[in-house]
Amino acid sequence: MSPSRSDPAWRALDGLEKLLDHRVRLAICVLLSRNGSISFQRLKQLLDETDGSLGAHLRKLEDAGFIRAEKTYRDRRPITWYSMAPAGRKRLRSHLGALERVIRGVGAPDGDGGR
């Protein structure tokens, strides 16, 4: 039987971050963890999101301490660069580990949906 998100086994998994449940936020964190820093416009291009939607996701991640923003200027135009905060990097690793355990657990012959 497939586990449901209401299943306590889900939330019992260490490291599963509620904020990263959304795939755009998860993608932002993975992209930033693989690169030093990425500009807002480049993230928008990579994720195919609107300004408003991407901005909202980035703000949530920034408020939660996952990522950091830095403003620079190019030809007098502001560019916002985003990078992972050290704590965010650690939490992302833990989240990805938890996701892997969920998937592996479901794929296991006993199908217990847990670890």
Binding site: P3, R23, G36, S37, I38, Q41, V102, I103
Partner: protein, 189 residues
């Protein structure tokens, strides 16, 4: 749709974004730049051997700084900057430069002929390009192949060996720069 299925779809979405972000390496302009430097520098060994040492003593470090600047500008223009990769490049090429200067000391000390030093430097460059191809940017393999060919050409040709080698290496660098789509489209800021 169950949650596990959704997770897998989310991860597929993330994989797609990561694939789009994959960098093919540095900008093409770095390869063009070094192709020109080599095209002038290698023939100097045939045409004006006294200038070779000075040429590379200046162009080596200055070229490294220009490459770093080109890489930085490319990162700013594309909106994707990888400081770690930049540091790895810096360490890699600085290490090469240090070893090249150390090998020149062998020539100054009279332990080996200058011809041998020149050839040894080309071999060091071959290995450096090869390792850069393995660890930093696959396109560098073209440079490694061209350098190895240049080594044998300089060794075998009785005249104009370094000039021919220079053309071969410059061609290898141009091919390296052209392959793999190094010029990522700039992001409107």
């Amino acid at each position: 749709m169950n949650d596990t299925r959704r997770i897998e779809e989310d991860l597929e979405y993330v994989r797609g974004a990561v694939a789009r972000s994959e960098r093919p390496g540095g900008p093409r302009s770095i390869y063009w730049f070094w192709a020109v430097v080599v095209l002038v520098g290698f023939p100097l060994a045939d045409l004006a051997p006294d200038l070779v040492g000075w040429y590379w003593a200046v162009l080596g470090p200055v070229g490294g700084l220009i490459s770093a600047r080109l890489g930085w500008k490319h990162a700013r223009a594309t909106g994707q900057a990888d400081r770690d990769l930049g540091h790895r490049h810096m360490l890699h090429w600085t290490g090469l430069m240090v070893v090249i200067f150390a090998s020149v000391v062998m020539g100054i000390a009279g332990r080996v002929s200058w011809d041998a030093v020149d050839l040894m430097i080309v071999l060091l460059l071959t290995l450096s390009y090869f390792l850069a191809g393995v660890h930093l940017d696959r396109r560098m393999m073209w440079g490694a192949g061209a350098m190895l060919a240049a080594y044998f050409l300089a060794l075998a040709l009785p005249a104009w060996g370094w000039t021919v080698s220079g053309v071969v290496v410059a061609t290898g660098l141009v091919i390296a720069g052209t392959s793999g789509g190094g010029a990522r489209v700039a992001v409107p800021q």
